[in-house]
């Protein structure tokens, strides 16, 4: 409905009027009164008293009708988009104004007869605000406008007198210049305004404003930037705009199937943008998130490149299955499970991380969806949270090339202080003395077989190298207003710290194209990326061998071959001669089409495809084989081995959706209905060939005299859902968001496939209420939000409900045998997660301080577990629903402050902390279940049942333990108690300092936790090196080397006691980044649009009291390569 000009002329209003005075807070009634008053004024002025009161009344009534309509639209206008996009060529002004009204909700008051002198409008604005839009439209019109309280009143321009005209002509100049952002990139579409004259910058950021008086104030503004006022001059001017801090209304939050702004968001979503991601010289995007997102716990499992990362969002919901969040890359679900085939052992550092098949530099932002409101629309897949990854898109404007290059190196940041040879041999001797024994045939280190004078620092030899890293990324982007593109490519090479020369490389390419039709109704967005990784690693983690006796033999013999010391020494370097190679290829593509059928009603569909492939190859040449193990082959060539596997997972997804929005009453209603069809297919083949005639031929399986297929896999997963969202936003202050979903998953047996889930979220922006704005003006933003809902979890292996046999790889009597694959239970159903969350978001002192506090409680019931069974049943588990309820509760705090800011120097901090509490709420009949001594009701799932250490018996010298049930024996079943080993809290603190062109970022991550201490994992005295601490520790029982002696059993109990759980808290300087931006005058140089030189450092130092190699990877008694300290230097520039 338009304020129809026709009615206005019927009301005999043919003269522009004075502006009515409007108060700040208007009700409909107020407006009507004002209007009646205004009509009277008009009538008085123009027609005098000839009009009868009836006519006035009639006119007023008519006008009232229109005004009411206007006002109802006005009020709701507040929830309209703040951005206006227009594209017209020689269009009538009226049509253009109508379009603005539709998009913005602003209404126009004008005399319709005026339109006869209106000039045709040619205008193009993209996502501009109302003023920019109006400036652009009215620039050449014989009208001026006035914007007040969402009403735009249009008047004819006053014709200046001749004298004024001449005077201004003499003084007027043409002011031109260029508007750029902080990085020096041009800002197309910025508004340049002076004395009623206005223009927009072109695609190069340039503008030219003619006919302004010299020295007059010119205001340059752009969305998201602080406006700048300059004096008009005859010289060309470069104008730099600074970004506004924390403009909540402008920050768009992606919630997957829909977007909202940070201000209006009802759920809990954390965003990490490219600016922060790019500070990390890492390959795997997950590693760049550590310490930056409250409640997101990231644990690197190895320092070898591309190894898997443990990710837990708000603790462990499920006892057994699928605690990984859902990853969505541009709308396509991404498999986060390693593709490694179980039949082929991995190389150093374990499984590959599929997330390393993404390119950090192509990521625009990562959103972490946590609560029910944010995740419910993902239904079952989002039970453990959703991590949305959005890739960079092109922007309209001049084409731009971005280049980023860095190089550097890494080393382990910690080292164990181990015994040297004399200390080690003394320990061994003492052990034999204590056991009253003499070295046996196999005690090679002390029985004279090995040289007792040798010393090797195995840490230095095996993991003391430098991992060199080089990363080069380039992107070309640009486009016009309708079509934008971005092409990018990159290369990365990363070495290892292991002995030998292994290098992993990564190549990536990405294309995104965005296109909008001229009438803005149709939009297509395509993104496609391809990444290939080649990992070369030792076939085992050499860090496993750092506890070798320090006098173990030399690695090479006199001839330069591996030294096996007559079969008495398993040479750790054999692993470096055994090629272990993994190649991954990842294709991920998405096409999103949308069409606006009628205003408010939009049809959308997204089509995605992802194919991720992993090839593993392990070659065992004869030179790497211990000759002692070769002798049982009739033919030594059988010692040469080629193990390889190929594993592919592919996903397609189609998601049609319809959305509709409409203004109802004083608010805005959004409705979304959609459906998901998804299929994942996984295929794998693993085979082994042996018996190659020489080492050079080993890579070709064809040369094998015996070849066997070890494992084949082929599985299918299908998922289907119908989802819906209804949201109502009342005056941008009260927001209600309902989401619901019906999910079907092929992982459940017949009749169990479907489940219903939903959530309610609400937000109250109390900061906008009068009582706050008037009484507590220092509160610039305030929001209370809460959500409640449920999601399901189907993250379990496929086909668990199906009783099947698999084929054995070898034949018996000429037939390949079959074996039962698993125990089966067709009756299990959806695991259910109920989530509640409440949060407060505060912006203080013009958003210089932003504080978010969230409280949540997730309860998971109907737990899907591989229920542990005694192997008496033939297998050790069965898929089943457990009646147990697990609760994850916690508080997350996120505080961002601008501590200091002036022209040259600024200091900003952001701090986050998560305090998670995990609890097993109920577990009916736990004591009769196989979890009786695994979990305890009322305690965390992160407990270990351990003996309670009570010190050393002074007479026997043996460790003693609490006899919990007082039966005189220490028994496994009765005397262990649950001991917590996990995180108390964790988080991060980031400080950003800017001084002129310099920027320093320091990110500290911290974790307060307890964990298994490595110190006592091997009985001191046995043929294995020990930390120096055992020499001085006064709480150890005598050294012993006898597995059958008196000391061994108590040592075993000790290893299963609470004495091994110690504090493993740490503060790690996760990331330091120092950058110097190119000065602005460099932009005069023809090609350079901006850039910086930087140094970055990952894991610079760690403060911890943990006794072991690394408190992050923990690893207990098993020694694994810790995350590396990586130092890099690089340059980034735009051309």
């Amino acid at each position: 409905m338009v304020a129809h000009p026709g009615y206005q002329s019927q009301c005999c209003i043919n003269k522009s009027s004075n502006q009515p005075i409007l108060t700040n807070q208007l009700t409909t009634k107020d407006m009507n009164n004002i209007f009646i008053e205004r009509v009277r004024l008009w009538l008085k002025k123009s027609a005098g008293p000839t009009f009868s009161p009836q006519i006035i009344k009639y006119c007023v009534a008519m006008k009232l009708f229109i005004v009411v309509l206007i006002l109802s639209l006005n009020v709701s206008a507040s929830v309209y988009s703040q951005k206006i996009s227009l594209s017209y060529k020689n269009a009538p002004l009226r049509e253009v104004l109508q379009s603005i009204r539709k998009q913005s909700g602003y209404n126009f008051l004008f005399n319709s007869s005026m339109l006869t002198i209106a000039k045709p409008v040619t205008v193009t604005v993209n996502e501009a605000n109302i003023e920019e839009t109006l400036n652009a439209i009215f620039m050449d019109q014989p009208f001026t406008y006035k914007l007040e309280n969402k009403i735009i009143t249009i008047r004819k321009k006053e014709e200046p007198g001749l004298f004024e005209k001449v005077k201004s002509f003499l003084k007027s100049i043409t002011f031109s210049g260029k508007v750029v952002d902080e990085e020096g990139a041009p800002l197309p579409g910025a508004t340049v305004k002076a004395n009623g004259k206005a223009t927009l910058t072109n695609s190069k950021g340039e503008f030219s404003l003619s006919g302004v008086e010299e020295g007059t104030d010119v205001v340059i503004s752009f969305i998201g930037y602080l406006p700048v006022t300059v004096k008009a001059s005859r010289t060309y001017m470069n104008i730099r705009l600074e970004r506004k801090a924390g403009d909540l209304n402008e920050v768009v939050i992606n919630k997957g199937y829909y977007t909202t702004t940070k201000e209006l968001n009802t759920g809990n979503v954390s965003t990490v943008s490219a600016v922060d991601l790019e500070k990390n010289p890492v390959s795997d995007p997950l590693l760049a998130l550590e310490g930056r997102v409250p409640g997101l716990f990231i644990q690197q499992t190895s320092g070898a490149p591309g190894r898997s990362v443990t990710v837990r969002l708000r603790g462990q919901n499920s006892i057994a299955n699928g605690n990984d969040p859902l990853y969505i890359i541009d709308g396509v679900p991404f498999n986060s499970n390693p593709l490694n085939m179980t039949s082929l052992s991995t190389g150093a550092g374990g499984n590959t991380s599929p997330l390393n098949d993404l390119n950090l530099n192509d990521i625009e932002r990562i959103e972490v969806l946590k609560d029910a409101d944010a995740t419910a629309i993902y239904g079952s897949r989002g039970a453990n949270g959703v991590i949305l990854i959005t890739t960079k898109k092109g922007r309209s404007g001049q084409s731009k090339i971005d280049v980023n290059i860095y190089t550097g190196g890494g080393k382990p940041d910690r080292k164990l202080d181990l015994l040297n040879t004399p200390e080690y041999l003394a320990m061994r001797q003492k052990a034999f003395d204590n056991d009253k024994a003499t070295p046996a045939s196999y005690d090679y280190d002390v029985n004279g077989t090995w040289d007792k004078n040798r010393y090797t620092d195995w840490q230095k030899v095996l993991i003391g190298g430098t991992a060199k890293v080089t990363d080069v990324q380039a992107a070309l982007s640009g486009g016009n207003e309708l079509t934008q593109f971005r092409l990018s490519g990159g290369y990365r090479s990363e070495g290892t710290v292991f002995a030998g020369d292994q290098k992993s490389t990564k190549g990536n390419g990405q294309v995104t194209i965005t296109h909008t039709s001229e009438n803005k109704k149709f939009q297509a967005v395509f993104s496609g990326g391809y990444i290939a990784n080649l990992y070369r690693l030792p076939s085992v983690d050499l860090a496993n061998n750092i506890l070798l006796p320090p006098n173990a033999p030399a690695l090479y013999d006199a001839n330069g071959n591996l030294n096996w010391a007559n079969g008495t020494f398993v040479n750790p370097l054999a692993a470096t001669l055994q090629t272990y190679k993994e190649t991954t290829n990842n294709l991920i593509s998405n096409l999103a089409l949308s069409y606006q059928i009628i205003p408010g009603l939009q049809l959308k569909s997204s089509f995605g495809y992802n194919r991720n492939e992993l090839n593993q190859l392990r070659l065992i040449p004869l030179t790497s084989v211990n000759p002692a193990t070769l002798i049982y082959y009739s033919d030594p060539t059988l010692g040469r081995e080629n193990d390889q596997s190929n594993s592919i997972t592919s996903t397609w997804i189609i998601e049609p959706q319809v959305s509709y929005n409409k203004n109802i009453w004083r608010g805005k209603l959004d409705v979304l209905v959609g459906s998901t069809f998804q299929e994942n297919a996984q295929k794998g083949l693993s085979q082994t060939g042996i018996g190659f005639s020489n080492d050079a031929l080993i890579e070709n399986l064809l040369g094998a005299s015996i070849a066997v297929i070890n494992q084949t896999t082929n599985s299918q997963y299908r998922y289907n859902a119908l989802y819906s969202r209804i949201s109502y936003n009342l005056e941008d202050k009260y927001i209600l968001n309902l989401t619901g979903r019906r999910d079907g998953s092929s992982r459940f047996g017949p009749g169990k496939q479907f489940g219903n889930f939903g959530a309610i979220g609400a937000a109250w922006l109390f900061g906008k209420e009068n009582f706050i704005t008037q009484n507590l003006p220092f509160i610039s933003f305030g929001k209370l939000r809460a959500s409640i809902g449920s999601t399901g979890n189907d993250k379990l292996p496929d086909y668990q409900y199906l009783s099947t046999y698999s084929s054995y790889s070898t034949s018996y009597q000429g037939t390949n045998g079959l074996y039962p694959t698993q125990l089966t239970n067709p009756y299990y159903g959806w695991e259910k997660v109920n989530k509640i969350e409440a949060g407060i978001e505060l912006g203080l002192l013009k958003d210089r301080i932003n504080l978010n506090v969230s409280w949540y409680r997730n309860r998971t019931s109907n737990q899907l577990v591989g229920y542990s069974l005694p192997t008496v049943t033939g297998f050790d588990k069965i898929q089943a629903n457990l009646p147990a309820v697990v609760q994850n509760k916690g508080i997350e705090i996120d505080l961002t402050t601008i501590n200091f800011k002036n022209k040259n120097f600024s200091w900003e901090s952001s701090f986050n902390i998560a305090v998670p509490r995990n609890k097993l709420v109920s577990f009916p009949n736990i004591l009769a279940s196989s979890y009786a001594t695994k979990y305890a009701i009322g305690q965390s799932l992160f407990v270990n049942y351990l003996y309670q250490y009570t010190g050393i018996n002074s007479s026997t010298g043996l460790y003693t333990f609490q006899d919990q049930n007082g039966d005189g024996n220490i028994t496994f079943q009765k005397d262990r108690i649950p001991i917590f080993a996990g995180q108390d809290f964790y988080g991060g603190l980031n400080n950003t300092f800017k001084y002129k062109s310099w920027q320093l970022d320091v990110l500290l991550s911290f974790t307060k936790q307890t964990g298994r201490n490595f110190l006592f994992s091997v009985m001191p005295g046995i043929m294995s090196n020990q930390p120096k601490g055992i020499l001085t520790a006064n709480n150890l029982q005598p050294f012993s080397q006898n597995y059958g002696g008196a000391f061994y059993p108590t040592n075993s109990l000790f290893n299963s006691s609470d004495a091994t759980i110690t504090d493993a808290s740490f503060i790690r300087c996760k990331n330091v980044s120092l950058a110097w931006s190119f000065p602005h005058k460099w932009q005069q140089i023809r090609f350079i649009k901006g850039g910086k030189i930087y140094m970055q450092c990952q894991n610079l130092f760690t403060i911890t009291g943990y006794k072991g190699l690394d408190p992050e990877t923990l690893g207990g008694g098993f020694v694994t390569l810790p995350p590396l300290r990586m130092v890099t230097a690089g340059v980034q520039f735009s051309l």
């Binding site: 024994a437 046999y805 089966t824 542990s868 069965i878 059958g1044």
Partner: protein
């Protein structure tokens, strides 16, 4: 009109939901076979059974590892391995927390599960040919009895498992020795009745020369052993006699032919599943030393002094079944029953049941029943092949106790490193404490009587609350 639209909406919605339902109903994986289909035809049903034999050979190179570890645990072998699992076994220092490596408990019950699954699958199937069905069900019972026998003798009062139903098995409690032996006997009696007289080939019906599937006499031979262990000497004698008397198939072989695939005294053998890099047998591959013993999991043991000393001078078994490797002045003796180390020409099969054991079973059973002459005669058959003097010539009036001692020592030197005979014999004859008190300290361990039973793996106790640990273990 409105109602028509409503109906259309309802119909289209239900069609949509129906298609959703179809969408998430997927086919079974192509790499696996649905269990009901396995027992739809002879071929796959046979494969489900013979798969068990494949695993009994290939899982953890079981024929070698089992013989090695029980040999290390008793007084047969000397350890050179630094592997914890070997050292613990050698020093009689097992504990409940660390299950044995390999985990015999888990393997044994997995084979029993598979055997039960085959029995149940065949039992309900109507599509198998009757002969095949009968043979497979009988073999399944044979396998169940075989593994129940070993689990009982290694771990003591283990749970008795006769079904695949996990809801029952997961609550299983320790069975008594009687229950266990009664079940073994019942299974073997049934198996003996139903098994083919001849050795069958891959069709489970046609006869072949390979003795790699149990026949009626394999069941009788195992039954003889079970009766002997259960103390039912008359029945043991009777079953052993059945085998011994079937001379058209079973004859004592010459000393170097005993472990050949063509051996005339083999009662039941297991073939190496093909293809294999090892070729013949794991015993041949891993016991035979071509170098000094190594620290790893194979080629890591020599024959113990106790065993070497147990041979009488001139014993052909010491000459032919033990070989040596000399390095400097050090001589390493190793078991040499299986001679092939990886030849691709297959001449040997591992042999769990052979005729000589039947003679020794009958000798013992007869001696226990007082028929000493018969016992002497049976013992002499074995001594004769070993090139030793015969008891009937040297000591015809030997008393029962002495004869039993002779038979026990004969078992020691005849059946060494063959699936744990020595370890089991020491225990069932009550000699274990006397012998191990001597031997264990020599191996660097400390003996206690409770160690004759292995500890039940700790996780089993955790997962089955009805199960009790063997005395002596925490």
């Amino acid at each position: 009109m409105k109602t028509i639209y409503a109906y259309m909406l309802i119909i289209s919605c239900s069609l949509f939901l129906e298609s959703c339902k179809k969408f998430v109903e997927i086919d079974p994986p192509t790499t696996q076979l649905v269990t009901v289909k396995v027992f739809d035809n002879n071929e796959s049903a046979i494969a489900a059974l013979t798969g068990i034999y494949s695993r009994m050979n290939n899982d953890s190179t079981l024929p070698y590892t089992f013989s090695l570890q029980t040999g290390l645990e008793a007084d047969e072998l000397k350890n050179y391995s630094t592997s914890t699992s070997m050292v613990q076994m050698y020093k009689n220092a097992l504990n409940a927390i660390e299950a044995t490596t390999p985990n015999y408990w888990k393997l044994g019950y997995n084979y029993i599960y598979q055997a039960n699954a085959v029995w149940e699958g065949c039992n309900t199937s109507t599509q198998l040919s009757p002969a095949v069905k009968k043979q497979l069900m009988a073999e399944a019972l044979f396998i169940r009895a075989y593994w129940t026998f070993y689990l009982t003798n290694l771990f003591g009062n283990v749970p008795l498992v006769t079904t695949t139903d996990y809801t029952i098995n997961s609550k299983a409690s320790n069975a008594s020795k009687d229950q266990l032996y009664n079940q073994m006997i019942a299974d073997l009696v049934k198996a003996e009745a139903d098994l083919n007289v001849n050795y069958v080939d891959g069709t489970s019906v046609a006869t072949t020369t390979d003795r790699i599937r149990p026949n009626q006499y394999a069941a009788a031979a195992l039954l003889a052993r079970v009766y002997l262990y259960a103390g039912n000497y008359a029945a043991a004698e009777q079953e052993a006699t059945k085998v011994i008397n079937y001379v058209s198939l079973y004859k004592i072989a010459s000393i170097n032919n005993v472990f050949l695939k063509t051996s005339s005294e083999a009662i039941w053998q297991i073939m190496m599943p093909m293809p294999s890099s090892i070729g013949n047998t794991y015993e041949g591959a891993y016991f035979n030393l071509g170098k000094v013993p190594a620290s790893g999991l194979t080629n890591n043991a020599t024959v113990s002094t106790q065993l070497l000393n147990a041979f009488e001078p001139g014993d052909l078994r010491k000459i032919n079944w033990i070989s040596s490797f000399t390095s400097g002045t050090q001589v390493y003796y190793f078991p040499y029953k299986y001679k092939e180390k990886g030849s691709s020409t297959i001449t040997e099969y591992t042999t769990p049941l052979r005729l000589s054991e039947q003679y020794l079973i009958r000798a013992e059973a007869r001696a226990q029943q007082g028929t000493l002459s018969g016992a002497i005669g049976d013992t002499d058959v074995i001594r004769n092949r070993a090139g030793l003097t015969l008891i009937k010539d040297t000591n015809p009036n030997i008393n029962k106790a002495d004869l039993l001692t002779v038979i026990l020592r004969e078992r020691q030197v005849e059946l060494f490193t063959e699936y744990g005979h020595r370890w089991l014999d020491l225990k069932r004859t009550g000699n274990v404490d006397a012998v191990m008190m001597q031997v264990c300290p020599l191996k660097g361990g400390t003996w206690s009587s409770y160690k004759q039973l292995w500890p039940i793996p700790q996780t089993e106790l955790q997962n089955d609350v009805n199960l009790s640990q063997n005395t002596g273990y925490n």
